[in-house]
Amino acid sequence: MIFIAILIGCILGAILGLNAPMISYTYSSYLAIAIIAALDSVFGGIASVIKKNFDLKIFISGFFGNAILAILLTILGQKLNVDIYLAAIVVFVWRMFMNLGTIRRYYVEKWSDMIKEKTSKKDVKEKNKTEEKQQENS
């Protein structure tokens, strides 16, 4: 369900983005840092969905708040001639890996559970079959 929503969102976004007008090169550094922040928020949202503690208010405020804060920090960094956006990128990417790790662990566990179940079912079936055969033989 959620993956369908993500997929539709991505496709529509790509179409709109390709048809959108060009932005000035001057603002692309701000936009890049905003993208990293938003990406972090989306991964965080997916992770929280998996953890089943998703909060709409926190997600939306995080999505916009992080992006705006990142942009403001970048502007401040440019004004101070310090590359503050590097710190923001480090934090966001680190959190992204954490969230991805959560998602990965969940699905890996789910998958391995599925395999275990299947194998156990097979074992049960084989056991049943052998038992039946034994009964027939006997």
Binding site: I6, L12, V42
Partner: protein
């Protein structure tokens, strides 16, 4: 529970939509940037270059202004020098004219005197009186037999009036007195009641007065030497 799940799904979908939109836009910009960056770099280089040239231009312009100003000054100096030298030249010419060191020409009269035979000849005194009268009448240049009358000119009798020396040169009759000045003034100075020329005429000497609109009087040929003027 179901409602919350739908809201969650839609929210994440919208978030993804916004994110991917911006991302695609950024991709486009970055794709273009490869060329743009070079251009930007060049632009920056050109900017610095331009700034350099501008400063150099300003420097050179300042120099140029300075040089132009100096040239102007020199020109002014030269002009004033020229002016000064021209004025000096004019003054010199005027002085020379007044001193009688240049040939001059202008309107005036010519008096020709010739002594009566077998009578007392026209003496230097007579010539002096005539010259004096002409000077009084405002004569600007006088010569007697082409001897220019200047401020050092002497008109003297030699050997009891047998001949006359002017400027140390012996001159012979007829005496031709050329005068530059107002013709009627000159004429009236030597003619009429008490006029020396008329007096000479009554004494029987030959004396004629001619008016001439362009008399040329030669310059003083000697040298004016000063020994005692300091």
């Amino acid at each position: 529970m179901k409602k919350g799940k739908i809201a969650m799904t839609i929210t994440i979908g919208i978030a993804c939509f916004a994110l991917v939109t911006v991302m695609t836009m950024q991709f486009k910009v970055v794709n273009e940037t490869d060329i743009m960056e070079i251009e930007n770099m060049q632009e920056a280089e050109l900017k610095t270059e331009l700034a350099n040239w501008k400063s150099r231009y300003e420097e050179i312009d300042a120099q140029y202004q300075e040089v132009t100003q100096r040239i102007e000054e020199y020109k002014n100096d030269e002009e004033s020098n020229n002016e000064a030298s021209r004025l000096v030249q004019e003054e010199l010419e005027q002085t020379n004219t007044l001193l009688g060191l240049t040939d001059v020409h202008g309107e005036g009269i010519v008096i020709t005197l010739k002594s009566k035979e077998n009578a007392s000849a026209i003496s230097a005194d007579d010539l002096l009186i005539i010259v004096n009268a002409l000077k009084f009448a405002g004569a600007e240049a006088i010569s007697i037999n082409d001897e220019r009358i200047i401020n050092t000119t002497d008109i003297v009798n030699i050997l009891d009036g047998s001949f006359v020396k002017i400027n140390g040169q012996r001159i012979l009759e007829p005496y031709v007195i050329k005068v530059i000045g107002n013709q009627s003034h000159m004429e009236s100075a030597v003619t009429g009641n008490g006029g020396k020329v008329e007096e000479l005429q009554t004494l029987g000497h030959t004396a004629t007065i001619e008016k001439d609109n362009d008399i040329t009087i030669g310059k003083y040929n000697g040298e004016i030497e000063t020994k005692y003027i300091e």
